[in-house]
Symmetry: C2
């Protein structure tokens, strides 16, 4: 590692992307891949701890540090962790299927995550259609010697007469092009206005003139709604004249190559130029989605006038170029909860110079604009009905409340729900095992993969289904340990302790057995326990019980894939009547879309962000107690899951050997 | 002129500036001089019509078109108009004294134009000291786990508690640096706020947070006031803690090399890149003045937080990058009368990124922010006293009114007051003849020059004094024609008709006789007639006469040099009691300074701009009649100038042969 590098340039070829790049000798191979746009997955952000960025060096030489993530056998085959390797000579590198970011999953997510699929029971209602962005066609009286007021005065006078809007602010760029534009089509022009600062009273909202163009272009009147997720970026092109979604797009967040979760991203942002790189990565993704949206409708970018984005606090900070450093340091103070609209262009987003980006307000470091957007989108603030809202993920967010009050909390569940920390875990891409059934007699599994491909790993929703299945079939006990008395070759001792073989090597893409280990199960139990303890702490803090929850809204791309019954079985979701559950998919995007259609909802977002009381779980002693009590399937206290407990008891009286008496 | 240029580079040396520059063969010599920063004067902006940019080619070859402005004798000596010449070979060029911009005059102007010299009788009063720019030192409570609100919420909460300011807007750049700055000096910081949008009610003015820095820097709290004149740029550095001017500076407007008056500048702005060049020229001048101001006090630019500028409509437009095209085309519509504050930095002004430039509102294309600033500065809007306000120059502006009403008009007097269009005219620089006395018996003159130097021309105020003197001594008649019967060698026939020799060749810097011609006198008569007809049309339009004017305020650098008695004698100023006149020098700068000290005055400026009714003189038939009637010394109607007429009549009963009967 102390070698002096000559600075000589070498060529690196990445397969199967078929990308060539020239780098200096000594360059880190992961960095080279990211810079070249090769789709490599590095969930720890290059720290060397996750082992997801393993590549095969087919030709040439790298200088590499071997960690425990690479077996001796792999090492001999030429497998290296890209993050632990420096380029020595010209290279040909193969990114194996396990280390690749797949795009196949995206179309699948899109079906669920976007556009009009939300049950109408859980969408904000009663708002009037009054988008913050407007287009006004104006016909000015040409100047005469009797009436030679300034161009701007003439314009404002005309808007006052035609649209009864007075005292408007004007962006300076509009003033700059005013003389030319007004004279271009005989004093007819189209003015674009935006409500930038929302006031509680509609009559006090003063729109600002942000653009003007010659002639009548009011028929082309679009805006963008975006959900900026840690993993995926979803966008919609909205026709504001018709109040409709006219195109939808989704892509992996380009930051994913710098790490899978917000904590790794924040850590990366503290490196020199790190924040800038992350910002550019997500902006590149946004630009990619915008291009797709425009291509779908063969629209011109110039007709887009506004952009509303919802994201968690870290994603919002990075996009806006705000330093997220203190989000991960106690006492977890974010930079700001409210963000003034900024010129999208100034962030690198390729839209017209006049387009502002409005980011959803957030509540706290771990309760961001995506949650506020979700709450507003599903209309919790509009109803008396006591609602439970949960966005499940590495960072799970929970909201409980109604139109009168709301409490919220975030808990770090760890990456298990996204396949992280799981021996053969993977993100929900093609080949991920998701469906699982098991024969109680033979303990033989029946598995289903995403896309019907040969299996290559287990995604988060699959993990829940597998663990619930193993539990119901008594292959594992309520403590998550394997019943080693069963007569099956599927249960065996592996390098991580006991494991269950889901697919034999000859059935898989990777050519290796795919297993679920006791460590994996333990990781899932910890993850679901964190979520459960989170909302249990919240409900207790406001003096209610699960049974009081009149409605349970499960949001998020992951949330829309999970099986409700199996999630209750493992103790992730509360054991309440099943008809109270509503899966809304991408609630965050719903909120962003609705605010694009209604300034009232935009105003609601501000109010909701202010009314949500955040509970810092790490500061609550009872959270830790609740967490420990939840480290069981479904829970140490059977009363918390009466339905599940009853069923498990009915199926068999035989108890797990280490089961606690409840 | 059709020659193909090879693109070869050649070297041009300018004396006495001692500046070398490399240009492509075929480059225009005037452009080369301007680009190199050689101080050359070109009052027509390079059209070839003024003859002020004559240079001596000492070495090398130019390709030049000879116009009538260059005599055959001059042409043989190697004198060329720089604007009509292209560089052919390496050159050594001498810019003769007549063609140079002098800086000597500037210190002289500065004495009159800046700082506290205004008679206190004519300055706005009764305003409270409440600058739009403020600095607030804040001590925040550090975050704890019980109080982990966002940095921005913490800051706003602290400002609310310490300063009782709520609902403040925040510039996004402030949010970006907030986490770092707040933690840098243990949660103590200094916040800079600016009132950007003035509201009529003080309690509704919401300042915006435009900057924040670590620790307490509230002791260093400066702003800038600027008057951007067509000819000169004057600036003051203001200490907002003490309400004082702490440094003053002045420089020629760098645009002067592109033409002397606003019309030539507007014409130039329509060339490709012309607007940008003019903008950069004035910005360079502003930067130069700022450097001087800071050097005077050894201050750091980072302590400057705001900048208020007043200028005529064209100067304001060009500075802000607005196209002034329609100012010179009927019906003379300006782009805007009110300008939102812009980041000074974005215009190229070298101040902190957070500094906004606020430009004074204007009334019309030819009644700009400098006049509004002047009116506000002298407080016309505060008093019932009927006031006459006049800014004399190439473009003369007149205001008549009081706290209840104001009318205004602009008239194009032509460049005579600044020495333009006068055979030996020059700007008020060293060597300009200003003082003039004449012996009624011998018709011999006694002259005084600026700086006491050998004469080299006649400046505008000198021209008034000379013509008044010649009139009183009956060397010219009231029609401006020479009395050729007088026995003096001083009156002779020259190339432009009759002329009077002010200085013989051996007495001058130029080595040539300096004369005043009948054409010169006619030009002055036209200029003063335009001004007089302007205010006569105004007074008549509101039904008052000169005698009703209770106060006459004469503003402008030129205005502060003229002799009141002699100006009345030629019919430029109204013949009212002399004690009603007040010379205020740079009223525009006074207004800019006062608004920097008081947001109330900033608000007044808006109100004044709105209350001023502009009369478009070119649209008034009576203006033309008044103009023709004023083409006489002092006027065809003796009743308009009772004092002067009486005196002239008393001195001699002999009438000019062609005098009209009145």
């Amino acid at each position: 590692m102390t070698k002096d590098w000559s600075g000589k340039k070498v060529r690196v070829h990445f397969d199967p992307d078929n990308i060539d790049t020239i780098v200096a000798e000594g360059e880190n191979l992961l960095k080279a891949a990211i810079a070249a746009g090769a789709h490599i997955y590095a969930s720890c952000g290059g720290a060397g701890t996750c082992g997801t960025c393993k590549v095969l060096i087919k030709k040439g030489e790298v200088e590499s540090t071997r960690t425990e993530k690479v077996s001796e056998e792999e090492y001999e085959q030429g497998i290296r962790q890209a993050c632990q390797s420096r380029v020595v000579t010209d290279l040909v590198v193969d990114i194996p299927v396990e280390s690749r970011l797949e795009t196949a999953v995206l179309s699948r997510e899109a079906k669920i995550a976007v556009g009009g699929k939300e049950p109408t029971a859980a969408i904000a209602t009663g708002w009037s259609f009054n988008p913050p962005l407007s287009k006004l066609f104006v016909k000015l009286l040409p100047p005469t010697s009797k009436d030679n007021v300034s161009d701007l005065t003439r314009l404002l006078r005309c808007i006052r007469r035609q649209y009864h809007l007075s005292n408007m602010s004007v962006d300076f760029d509009v003033v700059r092009k005013l003389p030319r534009v007004l004279r271009q089509k005989n004093w007819q022009a189209t003015v674009t206005t935006l409500v930038k600062a929302v006031k509680t009273k509609a009559e006090r909202r003063k729109p600002t003139i942000i653009n003007i163009g010659p002639g009548n272009t009011s028929q082309k009147h679009y805006s963008l709604a975006f959900d900026i997720g840690t993993t995926t970026v979803c966008g919609q092109l909205l026709d504001l004249n018709r109040g409709k979604v006219i195109a939808e797009g989704i892509a992996y967040n380009g930051q994913i190559s710098y790490g899978a979760d917000v904590i790794t991203r924040i850590a990366y942002s503290q490196k020199p130029e790190g924040l800038k790189q992350l910002q550019q990565a997500v902006v590149a993704t946004i630009n990619q989605v915008i291009n797709e949206l425009l291509a779908q409708r063969q629209s011109d970018v110039k007709h887009i006038g506004h952009m509303i984005v919802a994201g968690n606090t870290t994603m919002t900070d990075i996009l806006l170029g705000l330093n997220p450093k203190y989000i991960r340091l106690a006492p977890y103070t974010p930079v700001a909860n409210f963000f003034p609209p900024v010129k999208a262009n100034s962030l690198g987003i390729r839209v017209g110079k006049h387009v502002y980006l409005s980011a959803f307000p957030s509540v706290a470091s771990y309760v961001g604009g995506d949650i506020v957007s979700g709450v507003v989108g599903v209309g919790i603030h509009q109803r008396k009905k006591l609602t439970f809202y949960m966005d499940i993920g590495t960072n799970g967010e929970i909201v409980i409340g109604n139109s009168d009050w709301m409490v919220t909390a975030a808990c770090s569940a760890g990456p298990a729900f996204e396949g992280g920390g799981i021996k053969h875990g993977m993100i929900a891409a093609t080949g991920a095992i998701e469906g699982f059934d098991i024969s109680p007699s033979s303990s033989e599994p029946e598995i289903h993969t995403i896309g019907g491909a040969k299996p290559r790993g287990i995604c988060g929703s699959g993990l829940i289904n597998i663990v619930a299945g193993l539990l119901e079939a008594k292959v594992i006990g309520q403590n998550g340990k394997f019943n080693t008395d069963l007569a099956t070759k599927r249960i065996r001792k592996g390098s991580d302790g006991y494991e269950y073989v889901l697919s034999w090597a000859h059935e898989t893409q990777t050519g290796k057995d795919i297993v679920i280990t006791e460590v994996d199960i333990d990781n899932l139990i910890r993850a679901k326990a964190a979520m459960y303890a989170g909302y249990q702490t919240l409900t207790k803090s406001v003096g209610i019980s699960n049974a009081d929850l009149e409605q349970a809204i499960i949001a998020g791309a992951f949330g829309s894939h999970i099986d409700i019954e199996k999630s209750i079985t493992i103790g992730l979701l509360p054991d309440i009547p099943r008809d109270r559950f509503i899966f809304v998919g991408n609630g965050s995007l719903t909120g962003a879309r609705l605010t694009s259609f209604s300034t009232d909802i935009l105003d609601d977002a501000r109010k909701v962000a202010l009314m949500m009381t955040n509970l810092e779980l790490s500061e609550r002693a009872d959270f830790m107690n609740n967490y420990v009590a939840a480290l069981f399937l479904p829970h140490t206290n059977a009363d918390e899951f009466p339905g599940v407990s009853k069923r498990l008891a009915k199926v068999t009286a035989r108890k797990s050997r280490r089961r606690l008496t409840v």
